[in-house]
Symmetry: C2
Subunit: 500 residues, 2 copies
């Protein structure tokens, strides 16, 4: 009885926390999508106030007491409830390791770093960012010590984004990437390049918008529980599992921009729409890790959206939307064009193979910074050397190199690897789905991806945080994350495209 009552208090507190957190999401979404320019100062203040209130709720002593009482006490609670309590208890303990003073200091450091990064971008000069980045690295090292770790300080930071994953595990993965992918991609670069000129014709904005709505519906995105808007940097945001919004962007001279933004964010949104609404606020209704989140966007974007069967079904509709652009382009040529592999400077514009070198470079640099084996003063040189080594290119400027990402300025060190994890999980999940679903490829080629979505909902979405990324992977594919699934997918697909 007492446990049940306490569990109710626990759930109510988390629901209240979620309400405030999702309100912040509404204010932030509006800021990106709608807000008039003068609204910025007060909006920033309002978000900060709500963040403070959310923090108070999540860190209140009473909530700590409730968690302490419930934690490990399995007299009345079922397995899922106990798991929720355990996760919240961990979150609370982790949160308590960082004092209020530290959190405020970190926020100030990162806020300064962000503004300094903007200035550095404007001047295209890393020197303007150096000192504040140094501060960021310092405070993230401090954070790692406060949080604690067994192996590498990186583990403490990574854990926030990808619970239970470690630098040692990433090292194993990226050793594979280096051993296998670098040579394979180099081989591709030696082949004749595919033609993608038809993707760079003129595509009117409204026509692109209409098509993006079509394609979102096609993959199963529920517009009754979401909407799409424009924003310069596409993102997915969740106000509840029944209001999950995506944004997309457009370039009238490059169809890639909108197409992959919409499908990618759509994949994220399908995960959020698939979380159990009736458990709103509880860990069991929240995404389990950034890597798993990214696996959902990448699976739809790459494994489905950049596959030939998918376009065999979708292509005639695409041609109807854009007759002058695609009318004379055979679907096989389109398929090759959207899978063009080309070494380039910018991570977010990269193809799905080179992408992992961008991540690998950031991971190696982050680790070295945390180990104090690399100084921020030497970071740009180190960056450029690695781009030469892994991508065979000379970085022409800071903006096209070391200054391209905002993540470090935000203090997000340990975040980048989750992007690669996403692709690797996606390949492994998709491989499993083709085994579990009879004739999946034929279904997709017939324009029906609904069984795939159901499979993802049943194996991944419905559990929220009930299973960690590692557990989900084991349960769903009967083995730990294994780079070979991605590698085999890559070799098979791109050997075909590039005639290797």
């Amino acid at each position: 009885m007492k446990q049940t009552k306490l569990y109710k208090e626990y759930s109510d507190t988390l629901r209240k926390y979620a309400d405030v957190e999702h309100s912040i999401a509404v204010l932030s979404w509006d800021k990106e999508v709608n807000m008039p320019p003068d609204g910025n100062a007060f909006r920033t203040q309002q978000i900060a106030t709500l963040s403070g209130i959310a923090h108070e709720i999540a860190t209140s002593e009473r909530f700590g007491d409730v968690l302490e009482e419930l934690h490990g006490n399995d007299k009345e609670l079922d397995k899922e409830a106990l798991k929720n309590v355990q996760l919240s208890h961990n979150d609370y303990q982790r949160g308590k390791k960082l004092s209020h003073e530290f959190v405020v200091r970190r926020s100030t450091v990162c806020s300064n770093a962000y503004h300094q990064w903007l200035k550095a971008r404007e001047a295209n000069d890393f020197n303007l960012f150096k000192d504040t980045l140094e501060e960021v690295v310092k405070i993230k090292r401090e954070e790692a010590e406060l949080v604690g770790y067994e192996g590498h300080p990186y583990d403490a930071l990574l854990d926030e984004y990808e619970a239970n994953y470690t630098a040692a595990m990433l090292d194993t993965l990226f050793t594979d990437v280096k051993a296998k992918l670098v040579d394979f991609v180099r081989e591709i670069r030696g082949q004749e390049q595919v033609n993608d000129a038809f993707l760079l014709k003129h595509f009117p904005k409204q026509a692109q918008w209409d098509y993006s709505v079509d394609i979102l519906k096609k993959i199963g995105y529920n517009f009754k529980a979401g909407r799409q808007d424009w924003s310069p940097h596409p993102f997915t945001t969740t106000f509840s599992p029944q209001d999950v919004r995506v944004t997309t962007r457009v370039s009238e001279n490059d169809f890639n921009s909108l197409l992959w933004s919409s499908i990618h964010e759509g994949g994220h949104a399908l995960y959020e729409q698939g979380l159990p609404a009736e458990k709103y606020g509880l860990p069991s209704s929240r995404y389990t890790s950034l890597g798993i989140h990214e696996s959902q966007s990448r699976l739809w974007e790459n494994n489905v959206g950049r596959s030939l069967p998918f376009w065999k079904a979708q292509y005639s509709n695409l041609q109807q939307h854009f007759p002058t652009q695609f009318g004379n382009v055979p679907v096989e040529q389109f398929y090759k064009g959207i899978n063009k592999v080309q070494s380039s400077f910018i991570r977010t514009e990269s193809d799905e193979l080179h992408y992992h070198f961008h991540i690998l470079i950031r991971y190696e640099l982050e680790k070295a910074l945390l180990e104090d084996n690399l100084q921020v003063a030497d970071l740009e040189d180190a960056w450029n050397e690695k781009y030469k080594a892994y991508l065979d290119i000379d970085v022409p400027s800071a903006n096209q190199g070391i200054l391209q990402d905002v993540h470090w300025a935000y203090g997000s060190i340990g975040y980048f690897p989750t992007y690669s994890l996403g692709s690797f999980y996606a390949a492994q999940f998709y491989h499993q789905a083709t085994k579990d679903i009879d004739g999946l490829e034929a279904q997709i080629q017939a324009g029906d991806s609904s069984k795939l979505l159901t499979w993802l909902q049943q194996n991944i979405h419905q559990y929220g945080r009930t299973y960690s990324a590692l557990e989900l992977c084991e349960r769903t594919t009967a083995e730990a994350l294994n780079f070979d699934y991605f590698y085999k997918y890559a070799v098979e697909k791109y050997s075909g495209i590039y005639g290797l």
Copy 2:
């Protein structure tokens, strides 16, 4: 020193309260303007959670203690600060008179009433609404007793919308309305009707939108600190003085719908954009009363927007936007058409003269209900009798009569008169403005209303609640609210239009 420190705590609390309140406004705006249908349940919950948090902030014991310490203690604080404290002290005391139990009960009663009102609307049958409206009247009587009053229970309810105004003062005003306006309007109805068929042609949605943006800019609405969107029921909402948004609606077969919605809401928004941003959260940066708020919307809508000088300046642009609709209509004919006086059932579609009979009727009924001189069971008959008496029309159905407004279902009894006060204040302010600003009419006829806006900012907007409606009126026009300004404006304008 101590007072200064306490005043800082007071200001910080109000800023936090304002942040939460404006966050609620963002969530509510999004709900009306953007939200996908399935989002409703969680959004309602999120708004309720934030409302609870706002309530906690505004009613905390500590805040009460701070107010008590500051109140009437003028050792360190300047006049404006003391006024802020006095107003907040009043608010706090008023709030304390209503127990938490009462507030929850009232919210339940009104929530039920609203749903019952929707059902009654659907069935076009007042009987379905009777019982819950009875409950609303009962709880509002209880509220009046809890809040307390000197003269009439109506005063206690009116005070929330129009501080310091009383039923006795309204009686004086509405006696004038009855004595002067009823006969004058009856006289108009005896004249030949003006032609407004050109307003009922086909007006494409996008062209109307473009024009509404033009006209908002023209009256001085700042799009850098706001934006316009579509919504079924137009409204103005404030997230800060630097983000004040309006919505408008459209009928493709009636140009009136968009035109007056945009100008009316634009007038509200000019007031909010004119409140002092640097005093964010304090009473001195909030609108002083609903009557004054409405005076700003009505002044722009009617005194400016339905005047001949205004259209002499704007008409060629309007004709360019709608050449087929207005190309052959002289401006004088347009002016008469937009000022058509016609008895009708629906308040929100009324002309600016009949409008006050709609309000008068509601006021008389509300008062009688509170006095227990009228039973809800007899309300529909009483309503219909008054429409016959004041507007010479037979109400054909509940939806076109007693069920047309949502206000009573929301528990907003004592609210309606602020609409008439708005028009009367507007006439008095505008009359004063023409005296204070040399050649105002000529300026407006030359397309320049900027001096009028500055006059409103300097005399009204900048003060927030520092002066009450009554004080503002006295300060600005050197007399109390006087119906004769509206009456003279009406007689002069409509005698011209209808050849009396």
